[in-house]
Symmetry: C2
Subunit: 338 residues, 2 copies
DNA sequence: GGCGTAATCCAAAACGTTTTGGATTGTTTT
DNA sequence: AAAACAATCCAAAACGTTTTGGATTACGCC
């Protein structure tokens, strides 16, 4: 049977209060008494009921995280990596993780209401910000602690705590790298337009072009679904209408791999006659043929920082700077040439 | 501020009991009253406090899962895939997931005690069984519902609910496939010996050899750490002392990829003069050069079945068969020859 | 003897639900 | 007119903690 404080109290002859305080280490209980109580607790295999403790103390030591359910059309590589980083960091701080898989949409909002509104967690971590994100408005309106991986889109005011990678700079750097390899006609495969970071990536691309004195041509830019299929289709579309292209930058690795296939099918030699670059540095990027030039984000570190920032916010002393922009790293591999 | 049943009771003039029963849909409350109460609840933005509900009703609608923290030396591809499967299935059944990242060892056991013993979850899912697994003994002794992905090792009695993939058959099939390609000197890179499934894999390998009339030679078998480095080292060791080898079967893809590197460094052409196969079908396997022949496990389906079985056990009516052995699939790619 | 102080203990309230076991009406049946 | 019944409501207990605000005792000091 479950053993409770009451059982220990009866067994030891002390009150529930004293047992509780003995086990919690308060100084107003006699050393011998405490010893005695601890022994009984161990003998009975006492484990505190965390629900009761949480209800009473109004703290859960838990962080909530809602991830997209599988069939949403997005790659999950990204989220699973993030979960690991968050999970590791949370464990170090003695927090657990409450995870719920939901499709974006009404069910997802319902999960936010249930988990955040239902007091199951002390704070939440969101990712992949969308335009006018209803999750953010909800949490803000409820005054529920949260941090976000990803700023709002350029137009929006991002007055919520976030950590982001400077995707604009990253795409600029990778585009610049492609330009340095001698390319002038460079296609771009963007994420869907409702994702908040899409605009930053486009701007980075435009900046690199401008810096090199290459005119920006909108017909070189398409949107993809962040999956391999989207990259494949996007690349085919580009190649069909813009035969002069000799390079493509894709906004994530899966799309880059899809694009690589389309480019190869068209007879180009990726890495020799055609350059391709991605973004994310997923494990498959390293093993692609040719290996994919890409942008590496420190996901594990990001997870840790998200947790640390959230915990400070929960504790009521948010860090001075709740808007963190982390740098990423260009990983040059063979797909962008030699 | 948080709005509770009490607030709705005051606002509406009814008692807390009636408010609770109205919202829960009991038939002993007048239709108009219910309507009125529901309206007030909505107006106030009422969200039930789940901690209180769980404490009172002794059900949490939550499944616990403890994953290895990052620096444990194992690949996490496997676990993250599993989390997604479990998360999706759990969401469908209206369960949430409580995840904690812990290094195997005393801290991990502590987490089991805290989470299972502390009433935070209705049941737990374990994976990667070890010899004489202390987690299993603990949960059994506590009578806490759980299911395991992975049987006990051959010698042990696996009298706990589990779902496993028939790794013995899988390795037999892949070894057989290599033999059919004409190889007679086939190395094997096993997982560490303390993992429960290691023995099954070895047996499958031996069976395939025996079936083909090839003598088993223990010097063809080494253990690796389930990481790329382990595969690399294992393969180097094999090649150094057993120069006659023309093929290597590795017990997971990461080790296979490491082995591939070692083999290539030695001047062999993988897929032509040398065959390599892995196990897991991680995303990188498809993109490896050459693409890796491997074993695909239906991880998403496994996650779903684990959840369904666990939920039945929690409800008190375990399914007839709590020992499920699922088949896997051989994925033939170029690394095993043409 | 009265008073302050320190050490040790505990009853009761509180966290926010759900459930139990009626209580109170009004209506129908005998 | 009494009895049975249906409809509607609710007070109080319970889940297992933590915390508040003392109570009790023993002791030293004036």
């Amino acid at each position: 049977m479950k053993v409770t404080l009451k059982d220990i109290a009866q067994q030891s002859g002390y009150s529930i209060t004293t047992v509780s305080r003995a086990l919690a280490g308060y100084s107003d209980v006699n050393a011998q008494t405490r010893q005695h109580i601890i022994e009984i607790a161990n003998a009975l295999g006492y484990q505190p009921n965390l629900l009761a403790r949480q209800l009473r103390s109004q703290r859960t030591q838990t962080i909530g995280l809602i991830i997209p359910a599988r069939d949403n059309g997005f790659s999950n590589d990204f989220f699973t990596q993030l979960i690991l980083g968050i999970g590791d960091a949370a464990a170090l701080e003695n927090y657990d993780l409450l995870v719920s898989a939901q499709k974006p949409g009404e069910e997802e909002m319902e999960a936010y209401r249930r988990i955040a509104g239902g007091n199951r967690v002390d704070g939440m971590i969101l990712a992949r910000t969308r335009y006018n994100d209803p999750r953010i408005s909800y949490l803000k309106s409820r005054d529920h602690p949260f941090v976000v991986f990803g700023r709002g889109a350029p137009g929006e005011d991002s007055d919520f705590p976030y950590i982001d990678v400077d995707g604009q700079a990253a795409i600029q750097v990778v585009t610049q790298h492609i330009i340095e390899r001698g390319h002038r006609h460079i296609g771009l495969i963007l994420p869907p337009p409702d994702i908040a970071f899409t605009q930053y990536r486009l701007t980075g691309y435009q900046q690199a072009l401008a810096q090199a004195g290459i005119p920006y041509r909108p017909e070189y830019v398409v949107n993809g679904d962040l999956l391999r299929a989207g990259g494949y289709q996007g690349a085919r579309q580009l190649l069909e209408h813009q035969a002069e292209l000799t390079a493509i930058v894709a906004c994530n690795d899966l799309m880059a791999l899809g694009a690589m296939k389309a480019v190869q099918e068209r007879g180009h030699q990726v890495g020799r006659t055609f350059a391709i670059a991605g973004y994310d540095d997923i494990p498959a990027a390293e093993y692609a043929q040719p290996p994919l030039t890409t942008i590496h984000q420190p996901l594990h570190e990001i997870g840790q920082r998200l947790v640390q920032m959230l915990i400070k916010i929960i504790a009521g002393n948010p860090p001075e700077d709740t808007h963190l922009l982390l740098p990423s790293k260009l990983i040059v591999r063979e797909s962008s040439g030699f």
